[in-house]
């Protein structure tokens, strides 16, 4: 009951945030909040394979980047009025770009997952990293789409009846998508598939002995997770109005991992909290000194060595005591 009240309050706070930031003259915080929501979606997607499925993917930035490039490439063809592969027109309609980004990143995840899941352990970590690096270098070498510099998307994708150039409207759109995503993910985790995938994490051999074709289940989970990361990437390009190979760089995969661990592996809300803490910490430290990564590194070390279970475990302990 208490949890339900808290979550209603949290949602109300998120909806009302633009008024707060305006009243306090902190409009920059609104764009930070938008980015937090987007990274939260990406981190929660990673957490689905990592925390619930037990697959440590070090290449999720690939799907994040693919989702972003779908938006970027479609925009470029729309802008220059050229055809993709000679027959596909571009578009700047979000109702088309987002589903396409989800679809394409899901297909990419299915292909990469189908190959990667043949290995396990450290090899799985490295092969997912390898595929992400391949895509990174592929996009670096695609001069048509800006190469290293990427694609500048001058205008955010359009939605009917909404003024998407307004930062506040964009925030609400992202918030609506993030909330839908969150409740969808919660449903997924409690579904038949979600319980089986969690069983596979706990004891793969046992699940196989029960009759579960483990590989197929893992692949499906990996694909679903890829679609989530792709959705986040597509939103990110809309928020930053910029798609570049950096979205796929291995350090981006590392950052997503940090957000997951920071928030709490295998928890629903954790990755969103982790994304929030990570990005706020980053922007606060960056405002203090150009050497902020030093402090960030030390904080990471202290976190790993000093605590376990991330923010969610910490909140649990506080909640348990209070």
């Amino acid at each position: 009951m208490r949890a339900r009240i808290l979550s209603v309050l949290l949602v109300l706070l998120l909806i009302g945030l633009p008024f707060l930031t305006q009243a306090m003259d902190q409009t920059a915080f609104l764009s930070l909040a938008t980015r937090i929501l987007v990274y939260g979606i990406a981190a929660a997607s990673l957490n689905f394979v990592l925390g619930y499925g037990g697959m440590v993917s070090f290449g999720h930035a690939a799907f994040f980047g693919i989702g972003g490039y779908v938006v970027g490439i479609l925009y470029q063809h729309h802008d220059t009025e050229t055809l993709l592969w000679g027959f596909l027109p571009g578009t700047n309609q979000m109702l088309i770009t987002l589903p396409l980004a989800v679809l394409v990143s899901g297909l990419a995840a299915a292909a990469i997952g189908a190959l990667s899941l043949r290995t396990g352990g450290v090899q799985f970590i490295m092969i997912t990293l390898a595929f992400a690096q391949m895509l990174f270098f592929l996009f670096v070498s695609l001069k048509t789409y800006g190469g290293e510099d990427g694609i500048i998307v001058r205008r955010t994708n359009e939605l009917p009846f909404l003024n998407m150039r307004d930062k506040t409207v964009l925030y609400w759109v992202v918030l609506a998508i993030a909330l839908t995503f969150f409740f969808g993910l919660r449903r997924l985790i409690r579904s038949s598939f979600g319980t089986v995938i969690s069983g596979i994490r706990q004891n793969e051999r046992r699940m196989a002995a029960l009759g579960v074709p483990v590989y197929r289940y893992k692949l499906y989970a990996f694909m679903l997770s890829g679609t989530g990361a792709g959705l986040a990437g597509a939103l990110m390009v809309n928020v930053l109005r910029f798609a570049s190979p950096d979205m796929m760089h291995w350090t981006k995969s590392g950052e997503l991992m940090i957000m997951v661990i920071l928030g709490g592996v295998g928890t629903l809300l954790g990755p969103f909290l982790g994304a929030g803490v990570f990005l706020m910490l980053e922007s606060w430290l960056a405002s203090l000194s150009e050497h902020w990564p030093l402090a960030m590194g030390l904080i990471l070390l202290a976190l790993v060595l000093g605590s376990r279970g991330g923010i969610m475990a910490l909140l649990g302990r506080i909640g348990g005591r209070g």
Partner: protein
């Protein structure tokens, strides 16, 4: 033909560098089960420490012990303060903590030396070229790197196969419990192996200095390639690190040297160059994916 031979030597030189790094990483991986992303930082520390001493004294050779000592000390420090607490943790925690170490070391270097690359002078005895075969002069310093790398390979082979330490290392990479059962101070063994890995990384870093630029981020660049070598070679296998290191060094260098030219035959110049560079950068990752699909534990996986 001469051009191919020259690139082959360049590949060999890059390959032994990869081997120097991969040898330590694969042992740390195989024996302690730790993913150490900070291995590239040790490489960078060695390069900076050695280069700084060489610049201050004007003598390349005085830089060498400095590089080795600083890298080894940093290795001991990392092992005792951070990595030791990670042995029992899962890979996630290890990745996160050693990722933090990278951030720390990179910023410390920036604070001390700035962001500009530092260049070293070649030692005078090796600044010229040697004509290996008629018509192919090759930089003597690069030959030195190849020689040092091969010497280290032979030395490691002897240590691993002929000494008690090597026996423990071999046992440790296949069966950790057995080493514990032998009553060996496993902590000591871990620290030693980690220190050895750090030493080799520092050596590689300093040797690379005159060939590449000494700069922040040099560690991460080579780190990923090193991981690819370790995984292709098989975690815990020195032999695998050697074979995969040389192979990858040669393949990567050849692709970069010749692929753009080949592509230019079929498409426009700038696009061919960009695509050629892109594909050759993908080369080693593609190779790793292929190897893992055929042999999911790498070529020379310990215990298989």
């Amino acid at each position: 033909m001469i051009l191919v031979l020259e690139q082959l030597l360049n590949g060999l030189q890059y390959g032994v560098m990869l081997f120097l790094l991969a040898a330590g990483l694969t042992l740390i991986f195989g024996i302690m089960g730790v993913i150490n992303l900070a291995h590239g930082s040790l490489y960078m520390l060695g390069a900076y420490a050695g280069t700084w001493v060489a610049m201050q004294t004007g003598n390349f050779w005085l830089g060498l012990p400095a590089a080795l000592i600083v890298a080894a000390l940093a290795g001991f420090a990392i092992e005792t303060v951070v990595v030791r607490r990670l042995y029992a943790r899962d890979h996630l925690d290890q990745v996160l903590a050693t990722f933090g170490l990278i951030l720390v070391f990179n910023q410390l270097i920036i604070l001390m030396f700035g962001r500009q690359p530092v260049y070293t002078q070649l030692p005078s005895a090796f600044s010229g070229s040697i004509e290996i075969i008629p018509g192919l002069p090759y930089p003597a310093y690069r030959l030195l790197i190849i020689a040092v790398g091969l010497a280290v390979a032979v030395g490691l082979y002897l240590v691993i196969n002929k000494t008690r330490l090597g026996m423990l290392v071999r046992a440790g990479s296949t069966n950790r419990e057995m080493v514990r059962a032998l009553g060996v101070d496993i902590r000591m063994l871990y620290t030693l192996v980690f220190g050895l890995g750090a030493l080799l990384a520092g050596l590689a870093g300093y040797m690379a200095g005159p060939v590449l630029a000494v700069q922040v981020g040099m560690g991460e660049q080579i780190l990923l390639s090193t991981f690819v070598v370790v995984v292709i070679g098989g975690v815990g296998s020195i032999k695998g690190a050697f074979v995969a290191g040389i192979a990858l060094g040669v393949i990567d260098t050849m692709l970069r040297a010749f692929l753009p030219g080949m592509l230019r035959q079929v498409m426009a110049g700038p696009e061919a160059d960009a695509l050629g560079i892109g594909i050759s950068s993908m080369g080693i990752y593609l190779l790793m994916a292929l190897v893992l699909l055929i042999r999911p534990k790498g070529l020379f996986a310990a215990g298989s």
